[in-house]
Symmetry: C2
Subunit: 210 residues, 2 copies
DNA sequence: ATAGGTCTGTGCCTTTGGTTACTGTAAAGC
DNA sequence: GCTTTACAGTAACCAAAGGCACAGACCTAT
């Protein structure tokens, strides 16, 4: 456990901070597909992602979804932090994209460490920074790109995050993430298949070269 | 000057922090329309907005623009902070929407104050929080709403920010902010006029009831 | 007053993406 | 085996938004 944390965070965190994390944190193993946090939840712990990937998405009133970004090893969810600090409800939903191991740290420690550890402060800032940038990318994507390109980007990101160039999703699932309809995704995927960029199968997609 | 800062920030900042801000900060007056910060700029100061409003926008490779959000009195630009901390270039453009008064604080103070003043830490966090939320709203808007609704939201926000229910913009300017074309905006505005929600004039729009 | 530029209105057409509806087929349950 | 359900493919149609072209109104400068 300690070795695991050290491996991931020793470049960011001071030794005593790592000790404190181990002391107060709760380690959770979450299987792929499980919802870690949902819209409206009150949050009392901050998640540090030790392994795996988490997808973060937004939902509107009608239940339409949109993938915002993925969290990867060593990252944390700033939107969650913001909710913690403001004691407001979660604005987003987080789902384990792969099996994931998460260290949950109680919110109260957050402020304490902020004053105490420079490494923590920097980490928190860097997280915010990264999250803001990811969101800007998301905005760019939906504002400036057409669906063809967004789909290709999505597939690329997915193979990167899952580290598997077979994408084990149905067309419907992809459609949810990109906030469009199944038919449209099927159409575009077919087009990509004709361009020899991938091969379609039932329940999975084999990526050749995007 | 001191009274002005106190009026805006005394609920957030400790007295000695306010003194320091006055000591090291540079006060700038920016006329409406002027670009305060542009994409690619290196940033060495953090802006605290004393009065007026600033619009923050994103641009893609082809020069297409999109309004992200407005900053108002007492706020600061977290994206800028993030760039400061990471010593990276600005990802966004900031333009004075109205005449504005800004206190520029050198970046180096940022970290120093972060360790020293709880009020500053909280302020910085709250800013990040607010900016993240604004960005989420922006995402919602472009992902889930159609242009009719986005235009109405835009006009509402604009009269709120400028505190003037005459909107002094051309259709082309609105089109840039919403990343669409002039013709489309003219069409939708006409529709709103027919619905008695506003009256169109040359170079300005009179809002009745949105 | 005339000329040139800017702003707005509008008709027509295209593109992108979304909807409906139906088909075939693979998997899962019995 | 048969039935049911989930998944994918496709055609036809529709809607929202964007592009083009042009006209008229207004504004400014000479």
């Amino acid at each position: 456990m300690k070795e695991e944390l050290l491996g991931i965070f020793s470049s960011h965190f001071e030794q005593p901070l790592i000790d404190e994390i181990i002391e107060v944190g709760k380690c959770m193993e979450v299987p792929a597909g499980e919802t870690i946090m949902d819209i409206g939840n009150y949050i009392r712990s901050i998640p540090l992602l030790l392994s795996g990937a988490i997808k973060v998405l937004r939902e509107d009133d009608e239940g339409d979804e949109l993938l915002l970004y993925y969290l990867e090893q060593g990252e944390t969810c700033s939107v969650t932090m913001a909710c913690c600090m403001g004691h407001t409800q979660s604005e987003i939903r987080a789902i384990a994209e792969t099996d994931a191991k998460i260290m949950m740290v109680p919110v109260q420690k957050m402020e304490e460490w902020m004053a105490k550890y420079k490494g923590w402060r920097n980490y928190v800032f860097e997280s915010y920074h990264n999250r803001l940038n990811e969101l800007l990318q998301t905005v760019d994507s939906i504002a400036f790109k057409n669906l063809d390109q967004r789909l290709v980007d999505y597939l690329k990101k997915k193979i990167e995050v899952t580290n598997d160039n077979q994408i084990r999703s149905t067309h419907q699932e992809i459609a949810y993430d990109l906030h469009t309809s199944r038919v449209v995704i099927s159409r575009l995927l077919k087009k990509l298949e004709k361009m020899k960029k991938l091969v379609l199968h039932r329940n999975y997609i084999q990526i050749l070269d995007l």
